[in-house]
Each structure stands twice: as structure tokens, then as C-alpha cells.
């Protein structure tokens, strides 16, 4: 039986490394989100592979305290991502293409009486990307 191939890099970990200087990056928002802005959320939502490369589909959300800051952060992230290739310690991000460009997404809880509970002072911009990765060489 042939030996198992090494695992593909986790796209979320590559993005945490690549976007680290732009804000706090994680896969879920923290309780104290408003105290950790700017915040970037990365989530893989699908994809496929051809044995050599892993073609992932990821959603990247940018959280900020106001619309202009959030919009700028989302666009900065987009330009960072599509300016590859990126050679990172955990693997290689060969190519990123925008599938759905950054746009404001809902986040606050409608009707929430608690500003903190509802994150009323948070604006969120999300975008979907196709990101092609390789194992580290």
C-alpha cells in the first residue's frame, strides 16, 4: 500500500499568518469583539484538489468600528491576497482569485437592547475567494 501523502496546509492557518499585521485573525469572533477591532475572520467553505494543489473556497470577513474603516480593511485584505504567490512557513499560497468581492454583511442582532450583546458598533465586510495552496516544499 502506498504511503499517505502529507496533509495540505490548513488555509485558515495560512491566512492567519498572511493577514496577521492587519488585525486579530481567527475563525470565530470573540466575546469582546468590539475591544479587538480590527478583527478578521477566516472560514473555509469548500473546495477541491488535484492531489498536488488544494483549491479552497474561503470567506474572509473584516470587522471594524465604522463603515469606511471596514471597507478599507476589506479592500486591503483583497489586494494582499490577490498579490500572491505567498510563500509562508506553513505552505505556499500559489494563487488567490476573488469569487465575490468585499461587501457589507449583516452582523448586529436586530432589535437587541444591549449594544455589547448586539455588537451595535461593529461593521462587517465579507468576501469570498478561491485560494490555491501547496504543501510546504
Amino acid at each position: 500500500m502506498p504511503a499517505d501523502l502529507p496533509p495540505f496546509p490548513a488555509i485558515e492557518l495560512l491566512l492567519m499568518d498572511l493577514l496577521d499585521d492587519l488585525g486579530t485573525v481567527d475563525t470565530a469572533t470573540p466575546d469582546d469583539l468590539e475591544q479587538q477591532l480590527p478583527f478578521i475572520q477566516v472560514n473555509r467553505i469548500g473546495g477541491t484538489d488535484n492531489v498536488v494543489t488544494d483549491t479552497t473556497r474561503v470567506v474572509v470577513s473584516a470587522y471594524a468600528s465604522d463603515w469606511p474603516t471596514g471597507n478599507t480593511l476589506a479592500e486591503t485584505i483583497r489586494q494582499r491576497l490577490i498579490s500572491g504567490p505567498h510563500v509562508l512557513s506553513g505552505g505556499v499560497l500559489d494563487q488567490v482569485r476573488t469569487v465575490v468581492s468585499p461587501q457589507e454583511l449583516p452582523h448586529s442582532i436586530a432589535g437587541s437592547r444591549s449594544a455589547t450583546k448586539g455588537h451595535a458598533n461593529v461593521r462587517r465586510f465579507g468576501a469570498t475567494y478561491s485560494a490555491v495552496t501547496r504543501r510546504p516544499s
Binding site: 470573540p30 472560514n43 467553505i45 477541491t48 470577513s61 452582523h107 450583546k117 448586539g118
Partner: protein, 111 residues
């Protein structure tokens, strides 16, 4: 040797794109998506309310291509639950988004 030249029939292609047959094919694709989405929803549903609110339908939509603007029949998968947006994107209370419809689109795209 005689050469063959292809001249697209734009009006004919437009007719095909919005035909009942095309709409039926697109609705079938949306129904396939519904099956995928219901599978994703089953992973987290508590009351089943969200999973019961998927629906599919067809609509004629504009499509701009390198050949110009057209109208095409589209199959649409939607969820009209009151908390569909929270399920899809998460919020301050449910901080891990489920991306059900986004993941469905990615799955259909991957084939």
C-alpha cells in the same frame, strides 16, 4: 477544401436561454443544491425551523457576458427563515457562521 464558418444565431440562443426547458434544468440544479443545503443544515439544526424554510424557484435574470447582455433562466435556492442571515453569517450571539448557502454554492461549483 470547403471551410465551415460558424455564425451564432443570437436570437435563437436567447430563446433557448429563457426557454421552459432551460428553466426546468436550472430548477433541477437548484433542487440538487437544496439536498446539499439540507444536509449541511442537519449538522447544527436544533428545532428544524431553518431546514424547513428552503425553497426553490426559477426567474429570468440579466446576464452580462463577453458577448454582451442577455437574459437567462436561473434556478434559485433560498431560505426564508427569520434567522437565515444569522445562520449564514453568524452574529454577536452565534459567532461561528454556518455559511450553508455559500457552502452549497461551493459544493455545486466543485461538482
Amino acid at each position: 477544401m470547403a471551410r465551415t464558418r460558424f455564425i451564432p444565431d443570437s436570437a435563437g440562443l436567447q430563446e433557448v436561454a429563457v426557454s421552459d426547458e432551460m428553466a426546468a434544468a436550472m430548477l433541477a440544479a437548484a433542487e440538487e443544491g437544496r439536498t446539499v443545503a439540507e444536509g449541511f443544515a442537519a449538522d447544527f439544526t436544533v428545532t428544524g425551523e431553518y431546514a424547513e424554510h428552503f425553497n426553490t424557484f426559477t426567474r429570468i435574470v440579466p446576464l452580462i457576458t463577453s458577448f454582451g447582455g442577455h437574459e437567462v433562466a436561473a434556478g434559485i435556492l433560498a431560505n426564508d427563515s427569520e434567522h437565515a442571515a444569522a445562520v449564514e453569517y453568524g452574529n454577536a450571539r452565534d459567532r461561528k457562521p454556518h455559511f450553508v448557502l455559500s457552502r452549497t454554492a461551493a459544493a455545486l461549483h466543485a461538482g
